[in-house]
Subunit: 407 residues, 2 copies
Amino acid sequence: MTIELLTIGSELLAGRTLNSNALFIGDELSRAGLTLSRQTSIPDQHEIIVATLRECIERADWVIVSGGLGPTNDDVTKNALSHVFERPLIFHPEILEALKARYQKLGRTITPLLDTQALLPNDAEFIPNEYGTAVGIVLTEGRTTVVAVPGVPREMEPMVRDVIIPRIAAQAKTRSQTITWSTVGWPESRLYETLSRVMADNPEVEVAFLPSELGVRLRFTTHGPDAETTLRRFTDAARPLVAESLYAEDDVGLEVVVGRMLQQRGFTIVLAESCTGGLIAKRLTDVPGSSAYVWGGYVTYDNRAKTDMLGVNPELIAKHGAVSEEVVTAMAKGAIARSGADCSIAVTGIAGPDGGTPDKPVGTVWLATAIKGETLTTKRIQLLGDREAIRARAAQAGLNLLRLRLM
Amino acid sequence: MTIELLTIGSELLAGRTLNSNALFIGDELSRAGLTLSRQTSIPDQHEIIVATLRECIERADWVIVSGGLGPTNDDVTKNALSHVFERPLIFHPEILEALKARYQKLGRTITPLLDTQALLPNDAEFIPNEYGTAVGIVLTEGRTTVVAVPGVPREMEPMVRDVIIPRIAAQAKTRSQTITWSTVGWPESRLYETLSRVMADNPEVEVAFLPSELGVRLRFTTHGPDAETTLRRFTDAARPLVAESLYAEDDVGLEVVVGRMLQQRGFTIVLAESCTGGLIAKRLTDVPGSSAYVWGGYVTYDNRAKTDMLGVNPELIAKHGAVSEEVVTAMAKGAIARSGADCSIAVTGIAGPDGGTPDKPVGTVWLATAIKGETLTTKRIQLLGDREAIRARAAQAGLNLLRLRLM
């Protein structure tokens, strides 16, 4: 089963737009146990699309084409498909009526441009578009099926996930099951070693380690009629081994999981951030509904801010330095004392590029978490990478310290 | 001049990695007045690389290949190049010696794996790699030049920007000049209308409008022997027309420009953030050296936090609501009064998805900026988009309010 992706759009070649559609489609195929063979980006020009489509059809069983639909870019993809498949464009009144009805409901102006959206190559099947005007198009000839979807992610994603991939998977006869786990705090090598025995015992489970700055996602895939049972046996054996690092049996951010834990316990949180400069507060409040548990945060970037905002004794800073267990402890306690919140995360460190010393090189970070009326947890970590990576990792480690404390 | 990009790596097809190299290379070529004709991603398998390389060489004058160099992925690209160009791999002792010297200096262990990094196809030119072990490779045959660079962005970027693109540009005989301007606060349509006369007067200047969530970048390109003079005439005419919105004659973040303005005036800043949840503080402290002017920030997410941390009178909140001119004014003043900072930005708004009312729908944001001992500026804006977009735009608008105040 050969699957190719053709992404159409001059903006992809001119360095204006990241090809996030390729990421989404590749990821969704992987989850279904399928693999993309090739991805090609070309400009939205008729001759080039026609020639490249022919090459793709020559090689592949499935060709997913994204972009170049819609009236503002002259429907280049539709015209190219009509040309390659030698099928004239036919007007579909039912598509236009449905579009007009939706426009009326939204109170939008109906323009003659909409008419072209109801033209489809003869004998094409169409996939409705809930979020835009361009329907998806499915064309089959010989062994190859070509599917054209809009380039706008919100319009493309449901078509690919809900319609196209199930159909490819059915044809591929892959009865596959995939689960993604999210872990934090353990390097890839430790996860690999820890799981090596379970992996050897279950060779029919494909395991992918997907590391990022924030942790490692684990993806387990099984095929065949027993896919589900096999996967359950595997995850049951793996779960206790990686329990400390596994924060979700799902692909989700740590800020979401920590938010849920806070909400379950009825806790509110306050942040005391130095080197992360507000990043932990920003991530926790990225989550809709976080006002239920985020009380607020102190960004104490200047040492005087640590004293004024959190009551950190300036003598502590003078004696131990701003990046020290003593100061991070005072920050975590001060944030609770000065706010109405139930728990806190405090971070102070050297994000670089300057400010490192032999004792405390760039990447040295002290973390603390405090819960009202209970003992406090502190931790020193040494992080690698540039300023951005150190800040991202420090924020993640701070969230993880609280997660482990609340577990 | 046909230029193709071949990105090698199974991770690009499996939805694990965004193809940021394609963005960087496309952007750098655009800046030099050049255009990428096609970009292809393929897995790191010998036969596929060989076949695809041949197709690219057939079509293009320049083929940039990224990825598949380096000992951990079996040097697939180097072997494929050797095969396609029918040139055996030759050992270059001078490359190995340079590598070993660098490893010794960094105190790293020298492994036999390094040896393969000194193998190059016969008659290849190499580009040194300051940040890694795999050198870049340049091979020419007939009209086509193939350049192979590492897939790691930090190693690839200087090779492409400093060595490869100048060489392509020289061969293309494009004496082109490009300037990028960064603007904020004006929609693309307003910029377009404002500049339409200057654009009509100077048809030889190509103008691209590059909108993002944070503003619109303008890219001006000219070609020919008078490129520089033409471009200067154009920018001199355009500058006064867009002065309010133009924050840098360069491609740079607003947090960098605001940071420079603060530093020039000897001002420190404090943030008072509600709906942006720390995002402005995070952005300002993204900049190395920002400790010189960032005093700190208050993330007052809960209404009690607005009162406890910033002294906002709870009666104001009860009477006017947390998203009001009265409350944002009290936040901006309170942040200055309670801190040692010289100026402040305050933001309160409804980021959604819930919490909107007919009077104050989702996207309603109040901004304020205060300078110690001087008057205060407030502004109400109505933003579109989802929660993430509203927060990003609110943070940008807050930074812009201060920029306009300091101008």
